[in-house]
């Protein structure tokens, strides 16, 4: 039986690249039949990365069958995985997020969670000396995953080890980190083809903060103007998206990668209150700039107060 390897819904570069890396390792090094799959269309950056490294786009699946062998990467959150995930035969989990509870396994399995910026960095460590056997596309996917998750080392989630692994891969491949990262971030910034609702859901996770269900969306971009020019219609779409997704409010943070700051849209008094309580800022208009804020995991979620 082929093991399906996948990351979270709404796949970004790490959730697209890491399944490809691990399926290669299972197939070509461990001799375990495996295939990478996706739980949705890859975002524009991930699509660029697939093309750039000449990697086939994995099949998109909509669910998993009972007893099906699966490896979960880049998440341990059942809400970001197919319904019925606990009925699958989960054989391994590789992740770099906090343990949220909810996943169950039938027996003891391999679980590796590390406080690193990127799943691909953990895979590099687990693969060890066998990395020498990896084709160019696999090493390239690793490099791209780390650049994406660290925002080229700008994100405060970046560890010295992520950077070290990234630099070793770039040297091995003979590519310029800055050129690759720039091209990736440009691809991610090209959001013209997406509707407002799609943008609000693109890189979005739900959190319950003090009883209020918040859909916390982050758009990382080198061209914040493209998004902020649409702020009125984005704000007008928030109520409908929140309602459909069972949330009380959407928070949209537009992260300016190059200037290392986030702009939060402030459509109403609830968000104004949240912004002032969480980030100690004063909100006057319908946006507020948060200098230095780049990471949902490290800077936004831990700060949120309602």
């Amino acid at each position: 039986m082929t093991t399906k390897v996948f990351g979270h819904k709404a796949p970004d570069t790490d959730s697209t690249g890491s399944p490809i890396i691990w399926a290669w390792y299972l197939n070509d090094v461990q001799g375990v039949p495996a295939a990478p799959v996706l739980l949705g269309e890859p975002n524009t950056e991930a699509a660029f990365v697939l093309k750039h490294w000449d990697l086939e786009k994995p099949e998109i699946i909509s669910g998993v069958a009972e007893g099906e062998k699966v490896v979960i990467v880049d998440t341990n959150n059942p809400a970001e995985l197919p319904e019925g995930i606990n009925k699958a035969d989960i054989t391994a989990i590789i992740d770099h997020h906090k343990l949220v509870g909810g996943l169950e396994t039938k027996g003891p399995i391999d679980i590796t969670i590390r406080p690193l910026a990127c799943t691909a960095t953990i895979m590099y460590d687990l693969i060890g000396a066998d990395i020498a056997k990896a084709p160019r596309g696999i090493k390239g996917a690793m490099l791209s995953c780390i650049l994406s998750d660290t925002l080229e080392f700008r994100s405060p989630t970046t560890t010295a080890h992520d950077k070290e692994v990234c630099e070793a891969l770039a040297a091995d491949l003979g590519v310029s980190i800055n050129e690759l990262a720039t091209a990736m971030f440009e691809a991610k910034s090209d959001v013209s083809s997406f509707s407002d609702a799609e943008l609000l859901r693109m890189d979005s996770k739900e959190y319950n903060v003090d009883g209020t269900e918040l859909r916390v969306s982050v758009l990382e971009t080198t061209a914040p103007k493209l998004i902020l020019d649409r702020k009125d219609s984005l704000m007008a779409s928030m109520e409908g998206v929140a309602k459909e997704d069972g949330a009380d409010q959407v928070l949209l943070f537009v992260v300016d990668i190059l200037n290392e700051e986030a702009t939060l849209l402030v459509p109403n008094d609830l968000v104004k209150k949240i912004a002032e309580a969480s980030f100690g800022c004063t909100v006057s208009g319908d946006t507020v700039v948060l200098p230095g804020v780049m990471s949902r995991k490290k800077q936004i979620i831990p700060a949120l107060k309602v």
Copy 2:
């Protein structure tokens, strides 16, 4: 702040030895202040192991404070940990049991779960070359944990890697595996000082099987007669223990380590039905022998049907 390292309630050898091993590693190799603690009196085998390797008995604690730094080893089950464990600052989890869900962490942390027989084997791998710095007592604790959890390689949970690590440690320490294991199992078999209720709870985990809450107790012994001679009063105590612990029934499996079989006590029709449905046996009296059954994790839990 000192990090407290502990295993599960009702500590056996692995849940007593592994905290000592990991606290040594944190203190002496990583430079992180840490102390092993216990969530109850160690069992007779664990007490023997402490004495044999001249290790100090860790402090027994009854709870953890909010925000206290803790490392959890040999379990990931909140039911086997202090109440309020999710309010502690869990900094790492090292375990070899199935993921049951329920533990949550505040941020991404180090989690290593492997399908090996023993937590100490995983620690040996994580410690790597630094094992050379370990004092005799730490290596001895590792060796004893593996012998305990594998029942000297008899348990079907034993992997080639557990055996290999155990043999390397024994060679390094210059001790006979068989002599040490025999002394440990004799210590574990000395249950004369325990009440019936204590025996029923000594190595016991609760599972909900098809809506019935079962307290599944296992007593591993080289002297099954000592326990089976007390079967009438053990069976008479089951109803009271089940009631106090919120279970529907206690199942007591007496595992004969040397003869590699388990004897299940059959106090009533419910247990008779469970035994016949789960193990395909025919029960005539108030006990039934299950040849080859030694492991709750591998052989008992997966088979249980009500």
